[in-house]
Symmetry: C2
Subunit: 231 residues, 2 copies
């Protein structure tokens, strides 16, 4: 359990508790970075039809699942043992939710890698859409890097950047829809479906990052979080 | 806030607290039922190209979002004000997570309705796949009805049924994939993509129901929940 200090029932040291919250946060940052590297590698495996790399991403996802589950247990332990203040409780509940979003982002990276593995040794992405997926990958990378930074620093000014990148991902998502539905599409139904699903994975990945930053805003401001219907 | 009693800071009545937990549970059951009726109506709007019904589902989703957000606030208030026992804390944290899954199930019903609205007045589902989507709708209904029952009664024996229905949904999901990729497919790329996305919405809806029952098992048994990569 790393830097997580043992239970101190009956003798609560506020400073040590602050350390525990710091430990939760450090673990969230760690998972956000893992999830970012998973999507980076998944995109590479997709663009280069690299089956070994795809397998790697798929195998790593189990680690992400275990880490997020550990964060959850840690949060529940801290809530249970240390009667947190309202503010700290908000942080811990928010952290639970952020861990769930990160876990799902890991799944989505794994879905991209599975698509690469399924078609191996054929490439999934037709040459004319390669640059669009490169851009998707770059945006996903920018989004997750900034999300990790927001978790680490609580600097909410990055939220605007993240929302902007998310809009760019939505734009590319629509562009890909238009491409597969265009009368000039000549890559068949199977590739059209592959592209649609892949595009949706990136789009959901970005949505979850936005959801993480919204959770952080809730933590910092105390305003309630209302789920919105994302595309 | 319905049956939810006002704060009782400094004078905690265990019996009243049990009532509060009961109130959280009743609200979860209520939302599960709403989410079930949303998917039922969405399926009808899809199969009958009924735009008014589709609009209805889409409009209702906002209510589901607000209700799940209220459940979340209620859980956080109860954790914060009443220093729950470990068991009650597990119930409240589990309820937070269940609310999140239900919110997402509402989104997915709304996605199905949006697909019906987008193609209106044309039907989305070709005649030869109609019965498959009828079956998807019936399974979704069975799953969500049983999920609401498990939440209400904590009768975990239904979990096996739910897992079985989920496998049936996965089977239909693969069947639909095969249909759109078959050489005899004559409905074009756009319909192939519509069918793929719709099928995924049902499949994800069922996955979330399974996730709710797994959360309930965690609540009842105390075993940790580890996220698994679903299709």
């Amino acid at each position: 359990m790393g830097t997580y200090a043992p239970r101190r029932r009956g003798f609560v040291l506020p400073m040590a508790y602050a350390d525990d919250l710091e430990a939760v946060n450090a673990r969230l940052v760690e998972v956000a970075e893992l999830v970012g590297s998973a999507m980076f590698m998944a995109t590479q495996s997709l663009l280069n039809a690299d089956n070994d790399l795809a397998q790697n991403v798929i195998a790593q996802d189990e680690r992400i699942d275990i880490l997020t589950s550990e964060i959850e247990e840690l949060c529940v332990d801290l809530i249970s043992d240390q009667h947190p203040t309202d503010r700290d409780l908000r942080i811990l509940i928010g952290s639970l939710r952020i861990a769930a979003s990160l876990e799902r982002m890991g799944d989505l990276a794994s879905h991209v890698a599975k698509q690469a593995r399924m078609r191996f040794p054929s490439p999934v992405v037709p040459e004319e859409l390669r640059s669009t997926f490169e851009e998707m990958g770059t945006l996903a990378q920018a989004i997750v890097t900034k999300t990790a930074q927001v978790i680490a620093t609580k600097d909410l000014s990055l939220a605007t950047d993240i929302a902007g990148h998310d809009e760019d991902v939505d734009r590319l998502h629509l562009e890909l829809f238009r491409a597969v539905l265009s009368p000039t599409w000549h890559n068949g139904v199977e590739t059209a479906i592959d592209i649609t699903l892949l595009s949706r994975y990136y789009e959901r990945y970005a949505d979850h990052a936005v959801s993480v930053t919204r959770r952080l805003i809730t933590i910092m401001t105390g305003d309630p979080y209302v789920g919105v219907t994302l595309i």
